[in-house]
Amino acid sequence: MTDLTLTPAASRTASQGWIEKVGIGHILLAFFLLIYPVMASDFFLTQIGGYSLVLGMIALSLMLLAGYGGMVSLAQITVAGAAGYVVAIFGENNSGVYGFGWPWWIYGPLAIMIASLMSALIGWIAVRTEGIYTIMITLAVATACFYFAQQNYALFNGFPGYNGLRAPDVFGLYWRDPVPFYYLCLANAVVAYIAVLYGARSTFGLTLQAIRDNPRRMRAIGFNVTAHKVFAWWLAGLIAGAAGILLVWFNGRISPGTIAVGPSINILVIAIIGGLRHPIGPFIGAVIVTLMQTFAIDIIGAERFNTLIGLVFLLIVFVSPDGILGLWERLKPQAGRDDWRSFKKAANKAEKKGRNA
């Protein structure tokens, strides 16, 4: 009897290969994303696909801070914008100011480095605060940066900002063409997503979540809480910075409007609609908001659009504070903490129960 029930369990363990490890959800999603260009028009490829992935990355940098670190930032678009301005100043632009024309492989890393340092600096200012005060202080920083960029012509070229930014040609491909741009965004998003997913259970990921749960206890086991929080901001800056480069290649321009308060709240809305408990959340939110922004405007008009998105936001926050992800978790038979494999765990549990009975 025991043998009979144990045999399938044993063979299941043996077959627990990479599919089990990666999760069926991930495999299906990866398959869909890879063949998406076959089905999608250029418009759907770039304006929906590529753009969602870029916004998703910026929102992912917020998810890292808010979901794991308990620090809700409204300055993530500011960090992305910093990378964008570096691209405009050191790369090419046709605004007649700067545009040193450096190659992408120099200005790219430089942009990410400057963005991440700026993120660390914002973090260093913000970590003195908690909860709602973190939101307020990052909003203050974002607003200050917006006005500074708007008024400063020497560095930021003021109100008009920079136009004529061009994605590079590499390997004979122009990386702003629909298919290459989509895959470029996908590659970046996947790297960031996997890094966050893996990093959540790394030593640093655990310290960050522990700090979120109980900073006082973290100090009492030897951790410099401030340093760890600032490091998290620096890491988030790497993701937001990379996304910022893609964003200006997508737009072909950067101006203070890119880093205004509206876009910065947009990132928060994306992250919250998607959910802050798993790094997939920001991407789900980005797709929803991008689709709404694109099509709701046609249907209900631009003036009502913000009302609509506001209502959707309210609805989601009321129905499920954990966003769409939270809804999904709740509808599943067994909620897993942060992976998609829980259905398997649930099955195992059910089987164990059956065996015990």
């Binding site: 893996y198 990093g199 259970r201 790394s202 030593t203 640093f204 990921g205 655990l206 310290t207 979540q209 522990a210 979120r212 749960d213 109980n214 006082r216 206890r217 973290m218 100090r219 009492a220 086991i221 030897g222 951790f223 410099n224 809480v225 760890h228 490091f231 903490r337």
Partner: protein
């Protein structure tokens, strides 16, 4: 043993784990601590008794740096740590538990203890997942075993029972080669069995690890300590061996008689 302790207390310097000189703490107009001076030898095990609000937890908070004293100096193995950051004190070998459990509710038991081991070693910022062969992880495993939490090592901390959470509190204090530990009412709310476990764990600690234990239950306190300090209204008012304290009429009156609870 008792004579050794007494001797080092008289010398007042050298190998003392903890030396407090005239430590005081104000909360606005409230004086929570005043004129606390004590010397505790390395490896000594001391109980601090006193009614609720006597200032025992506040004393611990000033020693560990959860907040600083408003007056006085604190030395840890000869080094002045009065204004040192809390995490720096921990890295020097000081540990504590909290009266009200301070845990990481979304982490697992093993992850929590692993972090406590990591906190006093290198690679705190590692972006790699800890491997099972990691020294800190191996230590975490053995500490989880020592506090009888093996079966729940992968349980989420928020799901543990009160007793298990108290055990985890102790585990966090044992991690990473402590030299001196402050236990803040570790037995509060434990069942008699859990109390026995606790006493066993404390008595099994390596001899070089000293501690102060705050404990309301005199029976427990007397079984795990060799010297007792009594606090009342923010002051230390008497010290002595367990027998002396038990037979002290003032102690009977203040602590055991009325006003306790």
């Amino acid at each position: 043993m008792a004579t050794n302790v007494a001797a080092s207390r008289l010398q007042g310097t050298g190998a003392n784990a903890l030396e407090l000189d005239d430590v005081g703490r104000q909360f606005g107009a409230l004086t929570a601590l005043s004129g606390i001076s004590m010397r505790i030898a390395a490896g000594e095990r001391r109980a601090v008794l006193g009614s609720n609000g006597a200032g025992k937890t506040t004393l611990f908070n000033t020693i560990t740096g959860d907040f600083n004293p408003t007056s006085g100096t604190i030395r840890f193995f000869g080094e002045d740590i009065t204004t040192l950051a809390a995490y720096e004190r921990i890295r020097r070998g000081l540990r504590r538990t909290y009266q009200i459990s301070q845990l990481f509710t979304n982490l697992t038991v093993l992850e929590s203890v692993y972090l406590a081991c990591r906190g006093v070693s290198r690679r705190r910022f590692s972006l790699l997942r800890p491997s099972p062969s990691d020294g800190a992880m191996a230590q975490a495993e053995s500490i989880v075993h020592a506090v009888h939490l093996d079966d729940d090592r992968n349980a989420t901390v928020g799901m543990l029972s009160h007793g298990q959470q108290r055990q985890l509190e102790i585990a966090l204090a044992l991690a990473g080669a402590p030299r001196f530990i402050l236990f803040d009412e570790p037995a509060a709310g434990l069942s008699p069995t859990e109390r026995r476990d606790l006493i066993e764990i404390l008595n099994a600690l390596p001899k070089h690890i000293g501690y102060i234990i705050i404990e309301h239950d005199l029976d427990v306190a007397l079984r795990v300590s060799e010297y007792v300090s009594m606090m009342h209204n923010g002051r230390l008012f008497t010290e002595g061996t367990p027998e002396e304290i038990e037979n002290d009429p003032t102690v009977q009156e203040i602590y055991l008689g009325g006003g306790h609870g």
